[in-house]
């Protein structure tokens, strides 16, 4: 049996889906989080039959006439795949809007169960909904649910009712005869009739406390946090606090225990190996596998604290306000207001962020957003940020915060460039977003989300990062004749010979050594690899000081071993953050852009931006701190000028094309 979960965006479908199936699909307190359908078996606590019940979570849709691709997914599924029952999740706080879609679902001859979700919020607003009357008028069961509060709150009832209805006929309270969808006037007239029907139902079943035009508490808060001038500084302050808590205070304290275990495990393994084992094998197991993976896993508590705090921010409704704050800037850049949503999602992982661009209808805006989303630092980049903030900047929270703002600045620049290259510099967009109500964030949901990400992080560390570190260790141990390189002569190793040509290119950026080049290269497989590879090539077991409960600070040996100045370290960090993301994210870019020219153009832009930003950071920073320019300034300047000239050429070409087009229309 198949139950389709359909409803308006942000009505709570995914929360309900997670509650019914025990899955941990990403939920967010705003519209547009789900862009593809997800399936899961309903838990046995709800399913008392022997047969499997599959719940299908569909992207939100406002109507059966889709405006965007994710709405089309919902429409196509309920129309073509004929689920046994449709579970229509209705946002009880916005009944009139939600029932428009409900009446369309009722026309499909598939049994419908209405889950009147967020009924707790309705009660708080002193609004009464007569569910029995609503059920009678719609001709289908209506069950009050609170998806966020667990199965005792109507979810058990929902499944048993769906089971009863399966295979039965569905009454149709309102039917629009076939409307020619190509005739806008006919469609509009049909929609007006449907709205009138919905209005008549709502008037009969809903009694709400009439509010005068005085401001609610929510309005007051929004006037401050989404304020034209205050919004951005408040966002900066919040992000600084998040980094401060996760990387300076709570994170390292939690990391202490984990790093202690990793160290203990390393010591036990070292003791067991003894002196009889070949140094090559011993180094591969201890430094390559245990040390390399351990160095990355050591950052897990810091990342978990950060994800936990970000999940709380998202759940309380603040991140939706960030979208509004950023829209003020983005709409002048030719980006869609919807572009902000993928970028905020991209702070967790670039891949779902890139996939979320599907909600953008305009092709150019969608491709531009897919190209620029990876500039937002994702979860995989956090260990790299944490490492460099700890080692070179005494755990300063401003490092992480500024990387987010640097990402936003690059996105702004990138959008300005792309809009000129495509000859659409006058393009303007409008962003209409339903702001979710503020609510007290659920600690349980944040914990579940954090644990899900932590599990994924550990799996990645135990698979991809482990294999990469093992390969790096082998490449570092042997030369091309497959002889073990002599101690202190690692420069003759396979790894050094492969990475050295890249290191030459990186000299103007302040880190032209093969070890750092090798780490940056492995970062393209997974960004956490940068930390793992640095641990392997420099022979560092972990980066967290368990005695001082802090990340190893600038005075420690690690900074000296790497031989980087603080400015060069910042440049290296930026290079790793702002060059192309991991290969998997590039694959997602390819899928969403559906155009090789855009894909390769995007990758070239990302490489160019990463290089130029790192070059400017190093050279300007070195000039300020030492009074002289850094190494390779001429060479770097030539590369930068070539990149800038290329951009200017394409921008000129784009604008010329646009002018020609305009002349053609006006002629």
């Amino acid at each position: 049996m198949k139950i389709a979960l359909a409803g308006n965006p942000n009505s709570g479908k995914t929360t309900l889906f997670n509650a019914l199936t025990g899955k941990t699909a990403h939920v967010g307190n705003w519209a547009g989080v789900t862009v593809s359908k997800k399936e899961g078996l309903v838990k046995t606590t709800f399913n008392k039959t022997n047969a499997d019940i599959t719940a299908v979570d569909l992207p939100g849709a406002y109507s059966m006439s889709p405006f965007s691709s994710e709405e089309a997914i919902a429409r196509d599924f309920v129309k073509n795949e004929a689920p046994d029952v449709i579970l229509n999740i209705v946002d009880a706080t916005n009944l009139s809007r939600s029932l428009f879609f409900t009446t369309q679902l009722l026309e499909l001859s598939i049994p419908v169960v209405v889950a009147l979700n967020k009924s707790d919020l309705v009660k708080n607003k002193k609004t009464d909904i007569d569910t029995q009357a609503l059920s009678k008028l719609l001709g289908c069961p209506v069950i009050e649910t609170m998806a966020t509060k667990g199965f005792k709150n109507g979810l058990d009832n929902v499944i048993s009712t769906a089971l009863e209805l399966s295979g039965k006929q569905q009454a149709v309270p309102f039917e629009n005869k076939c409307v020619d969808l190509s005739d806008a006037k006919l469609v509009e007239a049909a929609d007006i009739k449907r709205f009138a029907f919905v209005k008549s139902i709502v008037e009969k079943v809903e009694q709400r406390q009439v509010k005068n035009n005085t401001q609610t508490m929510q309005d007051t808060v929004d006037r401050v946090v989404a304020n034209k001038w205050l919004g951005l500084p408040i966002f900066a302050l919040i992000m600084w606090s998040v980094f401060s808590i996760s990387q300076t205070h709570l994170g390292p304290i939690l990391a202490d225990t984990l790093v202690g275990w990793i160290n203990a495990f390393y010591s036990i393994a070292e003791g067991l190996l003894g002196s009889d084992v070949s140094p090559v094998l011993s180094a591969l197991l201890l430094d390559g596998i245990i040390g390399g993976v351990g160095a990355v896993v050591g950052f897990l508590p810091l990342i978990m604290v950060l994800f936990f705090l970000l999940a709380l921010l998202e759940d309380c409704g603040y991140m939706a306000r960030v979208a509004v704050i950023m829209d003020r800037f983005f709409k002048h850049l030719g980006l869609s207001g919807k572009s902000i949503i993928p970028m905020v999602i991209g702070t967790g992982c670039a891949i779902p962020g890139i996939m979320a661009t599907r909600t953008i209808q305009n092709e150019r805006q969608r491709r531009t957003t897919a190209m620029l989303t990876p500039f937002m630092p994702c979860g995989a980049k956090l260990p790299v940020i944490a490492l460099f903030a700890g080692v070179f900047f005494n755990d300063a929270a401003w490092v992480g915060t500024s990387m987010y703002f640097m990402g936003i600045a690059i996105i702004t620049f990138g959008a300005l460039v792309v809009v000129r290259i495509t000859g659409e510099k006058n393009a303007r967009s409008f962003f209409i977003m339903e702001l979710p109500e503020y609510r007290f964030p659920s600690v349980k949901r944040a914990v579940v989300s954090t644990l899900s990400r932590a599990k994924a992080f550990v799996i990645k560390a135990g698979t991809i990062i482990l294999l990469c570190n093992a390969v790096v260790q082998v490449m570092q141990t042997f030369n091309w004749q497959f002889e073990v390189v002599a101690e202190g002569a690692t420069g003759t190793s396979i790894l050094a010979s492969v990475a050295s040509p890249f290191a030459l290119v990186l000299v103007p950026l302040g880190f032209g050594v093969w070890q750092l080049a090798a780490a940056a290269i492995t970062g393209f497989i997974a960004k956490e690899n940068v930390v793992g590879t640095l641990a392997v090539v420099y022979g560092i077991t972990n980066f967290i000081d368990t005695e001082e409960l802090a990340l190893i600070s600038g005075s420690s040996d690690v900074a000296n071993i790497m031989g980087l100045s603080s400015v060069a370290a910042l440049s290296y960090l930026m290079f790793n953050l702002f060059t192309p993301p991991c290969f998997a994210a590039l694959g997602a870019m390819n899928a969403e852009m559906e155009d090789k020219k855009w894909l390769w153009g995007g990758i070239a832009f990302q490489f160019g931006m990463g290089y130029v930003v790192a070059f400017l950071t190093y050279q300007v920073g070195t000039l300020i701190t030492t009074g002289a320019l850094g190494q390779g300034v001429i060479y770097g300047l030539v590369v930068t000028l070539i990149l800038v000239a290329t951009l200017i050429y394409f921008m000129y070409k784009g604008e010329h094309k646009a002018e020609q087009k305009l002349n053609m229309y006006t002629a």
Binding site: V277, G348, N590
Partner: protein, 50 residues
């Protein structure tokens, strides 16, 4: 003898890591180690609707 045992342990770790990657890929995960892994659709289903 010690070298053989250590080699076997290393091989086992590497094989297990590869096996996990293969099994995740077979389950339909687009990328290992992503919290959304296996839940997000593949590139094919990501095609835009007309």
């Amino acid at each position: 003898m010690a070298n053989i045992i250590v080699s076997l342990i290393i091989s086992l770790i590497v094989v297990l890591a590869i096996a996990k990657i293969v099994s995740e890929k077979r389950k339909g995960s687009t990328c290992i180690g992503c919290a959304e892994s296996g839940k997000c659709s593949s590139a094919k289903s990501a095609k835009k609707q007309p």
